[in-house]
């Protein structure tokens, strides 16, 4: 036995030190000369989720509800008495609500994801032929995928901006035209649908989902952080980069520009505002900016900083790298004129440049940020990538 005892001793030393190490490492928080030391208190995901829910998502929903309700009122006034004044009011309310929408579309998590909120609000280009068919039928299904481009803000854009060259021509369609009553009925259906779907989402958030959200603190595929990050990245990639720039500019397919695929196609001069609003909302969300106070709180930025996420080769913090890329995209956005339709027609290289710049941000969000947070994107077993 004597000749084996060193193994016994060796093993016991390892085993005991294992237990000891596990139980004592809390006493020694990061004494290293790390220029970007991890700050453990910032890695509290519950605090992050609470801030994001209470100070960003819910107030944004409340703000949007205000604009949506105002639009409902104006649309009812217009439906009751279509004239130049009510049309102008309705249009302004539509612009306000559409712009506010850009600040909530990115929360693709929980009830919004379950109800596919976005599909009922902002699938463009609007299907004008389909809308006209729906007006004729009067009873068309609005809850099926084929109906998505026939409702929401893009459909309203067509209905209040796209029916004629002049306001008079548009008003005729709601007053003296043979199908005027049916058109008004469809307008009401579209706005009612928006109100119904959004109310369902907001109600679930304020009643049951908020607590569920802040308490799902893991990073597995069903956790709030994972869903939020994945939804956020998807939104930036597919609905800001591709939808607003990649597709209309033709950067995505064949290089053939498709100016008619811009957002707010009939209003035209609103498209850049919408894109800028959506982009700024994505930046603010990344930085955890409180919607009410404008102050930054716990969010992706503080979480990444607390994790000590940085490029191990250059030593630069990942947050700075990403924010610099956001700024680069913004700079390209600022060179554009208000109508992205006109930009595609006359200045498409600038559109493609925005897409290219945003693509760089997409990669950082999708790969560097997600990896640094070790967010799970599948539920399959994994023994290390």
């Amino acid at each position: 036995m004597a000749h084996l005892s060193w193994k016994t001793v060796g093993f016991l030393v390892v085993f005991v030190s294992f237990i000891w190490a596990c139980s004592t490492s809390k006493d020694t928080p990061d004494p290293g000369p790390d220029p970007n030391p991890a700050k453990p208190e910032g890695t509290d995901r519950k605090a992050m989720l609470t801030h994001l829910a209470d100070n960003i998502i819910l107030p944004s929903y409340a703000n949007f509800k205000g604009k949506l309700d105002a639009m409902m009122t104006k649309s009812e006034a217009f439906a009751a008495k279509p004239d130049k004044t009510t049309l102008t009011d309705f249009r302004q309310a539509w612009v306000d609500a559409y712009t506010e929408w850009q600040k909530v579309e990115l929360f693709d998590v929980g009830p919004a994801e379950a109800q596919t909120l976005r599909y009922f609000f902002n699938i463009y280009p609007a299907n004008a032929t389909g809308i006209e068919e729906n007006i004729v039928s009067g009873t068309a299904q609005l809850d099926v995928p084929a109906s998505y481009p026939k409702q929401g803000f893009p459909a309203l854009d067509y209905l209040i901006n796209g029916l004629g060259e002049s306001d008079e021509a548009i008003l005729v369609r709601y007053t003296t035209a043979a199908d005027a009553a049916k058109r008004i009925a469809y307008l009401k259906r579209v706005t009612t649908q928006m109100k119904t779907v959004f109310t369902a989402v907001q109600t679930e958030w304020t009643t049951t989902y908020r607590d569920k959200f802040v308490n799902a603190t893991g990073i597995d595929v069903n956790s709030s952080t994972s869903k939020l990050v994945n939804g956020y990245v998807l939104h930036y990639e597919r609905y800001i980069r591709s939808g607003k720039f990649g597709i209309p500019s033709g950067a995505m397919a064949n290089g053939t520009p498709a100016a008619d695929k811009v957002e707010a196609f009939y209003k035209k001069d609103l498209s850049l505002t919408l894109a800028k609003t959506a982009h700024q909302a994505a930046i603010d969300f990344f930085n955890g900016k409180d919607v009410k106070t404008g102050q930054e709180g716990p969010g992706f930025k503080s979480y990444l900083n607390a994790l000590g996420a940085k490029d191990s080769q250059s030593g630069k913090s990942l947050v700075d790298v990403i924010n610099a890329q956001f700024e680069a995209s913004k700079a390209k956005l600022n060179t554009l004129k208000p109508s992205l339709y006109d930009e595609v027609k006359t200045n498409n290289a600038a559109m493609v440049a925005v897409y290219t710049e945003m693509q760089k941000a997409v990669r950082m969000l999708k790969v560097d940020m997600t990896s640094a947070m070790s967010i799970t994107i599948t539920y399959a077993d994994n023994d290390g990538d």
């Binding site: 085993f15 190490a21 490492s25 397919a253 023994d383 290390g384």
Partner: protein
């Protein structure tokens, strides 16, 4: 050596191993099925990533379920030792077939299971405490050659030591990567969660993990350290269950490590099992010794020798490639490299043809999330998918489609960078064991084995 080969020992450890292994595989199949993964991974996808040389192995549509039935049933038959020879062949073939259907589900422990199932084809695991022995389908023996049990111990030892050797690299030891990235994700665990906010924890786990892997087989071999070592096995693997979505691997290793225990220990297990299940005493205790004929023994032993030489050498094949192993993954699989990388990628394929047609591919139209994730960081899968796209778009009317890919890959916290040469037409490149010249340089170095 000759004396060692003529040493005989109780057949109990091998029989207990057979039972435990069969039941674990059966459990794995039930778990896989109940999670809906057969459908998600092997039926729904429109494309699968075959292994080099095994391109003919594909899922069987709805019949894939039958494959899992065959695997589960044969695992049960192996466990009870009923028609063992047939069942073990069926188990090895069905399990291995399943694993070869799609690379994106590759896990080291599936490979381990296949190797064990392969060894069990040749080992006398059914001569004792089995239905076959009881029903005289096979002769019953109490004693078997010691090397039959030791071969399983050796395989386990290789798994652990090689997993430990793989951890001897600068990322793991000096940076505590990837544990430093992964552990904070578990900081919401009760009681121990807060520990994972500290880098010291990641370093402690990294070093102890490497030490554990390198040393545990030796401590398990020694009868004085064995009980402590086994406690360490349980603690280590249970920790990995708590911390990582690693599947059945920890449980399989915890159970498989019992093979290191003595004959007496396993005889007690069998005695308890017999009592609990009210089995006839005749199942054990024929008092006979399983002696292989000279020719049988030579054949078996030389086969085993070849098997183990391959096992020892194969994981080092990466040294034949010029690229950084973790970056290019040339020679990465089948080498017990477990939990070594946090690697993530984003890939955008572009298909163009002579007439100037061009399309940006949405990967999700063709791949599952798991497949896309796995492909994004593994060059052999990228080229396989490129070939699929080439053929797909040729059918869509593209003339001689060319496939290019824009890639961005991050490895262990390094900022992402382009992975594949975007100017190379992957439609024309082939996957092979030769170095892939179109993998862009890593631009960093991970020192170590």
């Amino acid at each position: 050596m000759g004396r060692y080969l003529r040493t005989y020992t109780s057949a109990a450890p091998l029989s207990v191993f057979r039972i435990a292994f069969g039941l674990m595989i059966f459990g794995s199949v039930v778990r896989f099925w109940s999670k809906g993964w057969i459908d998600d991974f092997y039926i729904k996808p429109s494309f699968f990533f075959p292994y080099y040389g095994f391109e003919f192995i594909k899922p069987l549509g709805e019949y894939t379920y039958l494959l899992f039935v065959a695997c589960g049933l044969s695992a049960l038959l192996v466990a009870v030792g009923w028609f063992y020879r047939t069942a073990s062949v069926l188990l090895f073939l069905s399990f291995t077939y399943i694993e070869l259907m799609d690379k994106s589900t590759y896990l080291n422990h599936y490979y381990f299971v296949s190797l064990v199932a392969f060894l069990l084809l040749f080992l006398p695991a059914n001569v004792y405490f089995s239905v076959d022995a009881h029903q005289n389908r096979t002769d019953s023996y109490d004693q078997i050659p010691r090397w039959t049990i030791d071969s399983l111990r050796l395989l386990m030892g290789i798994v652990y030591v090689y997993a430990g050797l793989a951890k001897l690299n600068s990322d793991w030891l000096l940076e505590a990567l990837p544990l430093r990235i992964w552990l904070p994700g578990r900081n919401d665990l009760p009681i121990i969660g807060f520990l994972f906010n500290y880098r010291e924890t990641a370093f402690t786990f990294s070093w102890l993990g490497a030490l554990y892997d390198l040393s545990i087989p030796f401590f398990l071999l020694n009868r004085f350290t064995r009980p402590f070592a086994y406690v360490a096995v349980v603690v280590f693997h249970v920790l990995t269950v708590i911390l990582f979505p690693i599947g059945m691997f920890p449980y399989i290793m915890i159970v498989a490590a019992l093979i290191f225990f003595s004959a007496g220990f396993h005889q007690r297990i069998i005695a308890v099992l017999s009592r609990l299940l009210r089995l006839p005493a005749a199942l054990v205790g024929s008092g006979k010794k399983k002696v292989y004929s000279g020719r049988q023994a030579r054949l078996l032993l030389s086969g085993l020798a070849v098997f183990f030489v391959v096992q020892l050498l194969f994981p080092f094949r990466y040294a034949l490639y010029p690229n950084e192993l973790f970056w290019s993954e040339e020679g990465y699989r089948f080498s017990w490299r477990v939990m070594l990388m946090e690697k993530m990628g984003h890939v955008q394929f572009k298909v163009v043809d002579e007439k100037g047609q061009q399309i940006m591919v949405n990967n999700e139209d063709h791949l599952t999330r798991l497949q896309e994730k796995m492909m994004a960081t593994q060059p052999d899968m990228l080229v396989q998918f490129a070939h699929y796209l080439r053929d797909y778009y040729a059918r869509q009317g593209f003339q001689k489609p060319e496939v290019y890919v824009d890639t961005y890959v991050s490895l262990n916290g390094r900022l992402g960078k382009p992975y594949i040469d975007p100017t190379v037409n992957l439609a024309q490149e082939t996957d092979s064991f030769t170095p892939k010249k179109w993998i862009l340089p890593f631009g960093d170095e991970i020192k170590g084995l």
